[in-house]
């Protein structure tokens, strides 16, 4: 039984709002010409992520290291929207020569902040590679600062790992990084982690659905059925939630559960889906040695697994690799785009 994403669920309204927010942000940033930019659209929606951009001449930092900062203090700033604090050197006198210093690109800073789980490991991916890992505080809040990157559009992803080693779904968002600006990505609210104690449950018995989120948040658990079942459970002070679901309301067959977290008007995206079967017996969920798409079984899905799959791309699988493909990818006896898509879904960096 796998914890594949359940297609029976509709996309959440929050996800759509976040998508719209990203779209607005990206489009706006595409037209960004250095002006101070605050995404006012974020004020009226329950956003998971808010992105703001500050120019070098209005970010409160001494970007060029001359001891002066921002407009009008720094002579390198023509106005508050200027993206470069660097002082323009005076023109050399006519007839004379002069040496010049090397060009120093204006600095770029990207700040990330949000909520994960208490004392959890939070990983920030930049274009699929691990950029930074940090540990969230007891209140589940985390902050990450990224510097020394080039201008361009980046795909940043954030995920958390709970106290049982379960990982959240990746929260991915594109950010257009502009030279000489400070970009703040805030209000990140990671989806809860989720797991079940049985892979098969006898109809009428109880299955435990549990995971971790923000302390004292309200967890909504959804289970697909002929009529979808939604229940609520509180997260405790450590963010842990547990709901014993009576399966009498579920029909026989395969089901998927997922959860989301709500606190102070903020709503997380839905978690990954976890599958279980309602049948005629109780079968406890085994401890998996190797997770889906983890081809070298090191607990991560990253460039190494990608490289192994790429090696077998359009090749006949060896007898040793065929069972791995069968158990951890889509099991069609070959490596193609579908296997890479599965890998991208379970990516950890």
């Amino acid at each position: 039984m796998s914890d594949v994403q359940n297609l029976c669920f509709r996309k959440s309204e929050t996800a759509r709002r976040v998508t719209a927010l990203f779209l607005v942000t990206v489009l706006a940033m595409g037209a960004f010409t250095g002006a101070r930019f605050v995404l006012s659209a974020a004020v009226n929606v329950t956003a998971t992520v808010q992105i703001t951009v500050q120019s070098a001449c209005s970010d409160g930092l001494d970007n060029d290291g001359d001891g002066l900062y921002d407009y009008p203090n720094d002579p390198g700033c023509s106005d508050p929207t200027d993206t470069d604090e660097t002082n323009i050197p005076p023109s050399p006198p006519a007839g004379g020569g002069g040496g010049g210093g090397g060009y120093v690109p204006p600095p770029i800073i990207v700040n990330f902040s949000g909520r994960a789980y208490p004392r959890s490991l939070v990983t920030l991916l930049k274009d699929a590679g691990v950029a930074v890992t940090t540990v969230a505080g007891q209140d589940a809040n985390f902050k990450i600062q990224l510097t020394s990157i080039a201008p361009g559009t980046y795909l940043f992803s954030v995920y958390g790992e709970d106290n049982r080693g379960n990982r959240s779904a990746l929260l991915t968002f594109p950010v257009n990084v502009v030279a000489g600006t400070v970009t703040n990505v805030s209000n990140i609210y990671l989806a809860p982690t989720i797991a079940v104690d049985k892979e098969e449950v006898k109809k009428g018995n109880v299955i435990a659905v549990f995971g971790q989120s923000v302390p004292l948040s309200e967890i909504t658990i959804g289970v697909n059925s002929q009529e979808d079942v939604y229940v609520k459970a509180p997260a405790d002070q450590n963010g842990v939630y547990l709901y014993n679901l009576d399966t009498i309301v579920l029909e026989l067959g395969q089901h998927y559960a997922r959860s989301k977290s709500t606190l102070e008007g903020f709503i997380s995206p839905f978690s990954k889906s976890v599958g279980f079967k309602v049948g005629t017996q109780d079968v406890y969920a085994p401890t998996r040695k190797c997770r889906r798409a983890d081809l070298n079984c090191d607990g991560r899905v990253n460039l190494v697994d990608f490289s192994i799959a790429a090696y077998w791309y359009k090749r006949t699988l060896s007898p040793a690799f065929a069972p791995i493909e069968k158990n951890r990818l889509n099991g069609d006896g070959k490596i193609d785009l579908v296997d890479f898509s599965i890998m991208a879904f379970y990516w950890t960096g």
Binding site: L171, L337, I342, F345
Partner: protein
């Protein structure tokens, strides 16, 4: 409801269904869609996800080589963070192919896939046909998403305003810092030590990679010592005693060099250890020689 009404209702329902699915399909488009004849222009190929969460793309695009000449493909600043097959083109066969993935998926609107640097040979509409291509949903199953349209049109005019032309690249940024890994897995190159890597460049795109293996640590590697390489790269030194350097070079010539940490070495395999040993031996020999000469002089003086 009579038979005719049923047919009409059925047709309308069918059209609505088709229309609905089309609206939700991922869409490929060019930007700009108009170019000046005979002028090299970079035309970006975008994927509009139409609110679908997409994580894998495989494209084969055919064009008429008598209408278009493709000079290069810029894969910098692409949403496809990892290439399964980097963009390739043939002006003989009239085809562009590439495939890649977006770890974590992308549903935020318009994602740039690649930039085609091309020259149109004549005025009018130039057609690109999308064949054997697919985009997959980020659902853990690799479910296929609808992809439209089947063909793309690029309009070539005598003069287009505002002009979009290729300007000399002002990309002064080196490729992003990347983390190559040396792996040793029975399922890749029969368990040989293999170097895997992937760098990103937001400007002109990665041009090539080169690898250098050295017995000694280096602060400079000459051009002749680099060897072009692609990931995965089986190392020449399978004893893992050599220092490995990898260079990612973008199409503007900016380079990023990264060293891979050396695996644990025996003490006699370490360059520094031998430096210390030889230095120590020389010091002892020098000291012994000095003592010997001093004693010799002392004896002479005593005589």
């Amino acid at each position: 409801m009579n038979k005719r009404t049923c047919v009409v209702v059925g047709i309308i329902a069918g059209l609505l269904t088709v229309g609905g699915s089309t609206v939700q399909a991922a869409r490929i488009f060019f930007l700009p869609q108009e170019v000046t004849v005979g002028r090299e222009t970079e035309v970006s190929m975008f994927l509009d996800t139409e609110r679908e969460d997409i994580n894998a793309v495989e494209m084969t695009i055919r064009f008429d080589p008598s209408s278009i000449l493709i000079r290069d493909i810029n894969d910098g600043d692409s949403a496809l963070a990892l290439w399964i097959e980097r963009p390739r083109f043939s002006n003989v066969d009239g085809v562009v192919t590439f495939s890649g993935i977006i770890p974590g998926g992308y549903e935020s609107g318009q994602a740039r896939l690649a930039g085609l640097r091309l020259v149109t040979r004549q005025e009018g509409n130039v057609e690109f046909r999308i064949e054997n291509s697919r985009v997959l949903l980020n659902d853990g199953l690799g479910t296929r998403a609808n992809l439209v349209p089947a063909r793309l049109l690029l309009t070539a005019a005598e003069k287009v305003y505002p002009e979009v032309t290729i300007v000399p690249s002002d990309d002064t940024y080196a490729p992003e810092l990347f983390q190559p890994r040396i792996i040793h897995d029975p399922n890749i190159f029969d368990g040989l030590y293999v170097l895997v890597f992937a760098a990103q460049d937001k400007g002109s795109g990665i041009d090539y990679y080169a690898v250098h293996e050295s017995r000694t640590p280096k602060t400079f590697v000459s051009d002749s010592e680099w060897q072009r390489a692609e990931s995965p790269y089986p190392l020449k030194d399978q004893r893992r005693t050599q220092y490995v350097y990898i260079k990612a070079v973008d199409k503007s010539g900016n380079a990023r060099i990264v060293a891979v940490e050396l695996a644990s070495q025996r003490w006699w395999q370490q360059y520094h250890a031998w430096s210390i040993i030889i230095g120590g031996v020389l010091a002892v020999l020098a000291a012994g020689l000095a003592v010997f000469i001093r004693r010799l002089q002392k004896k002479r003086n005593e005589r």
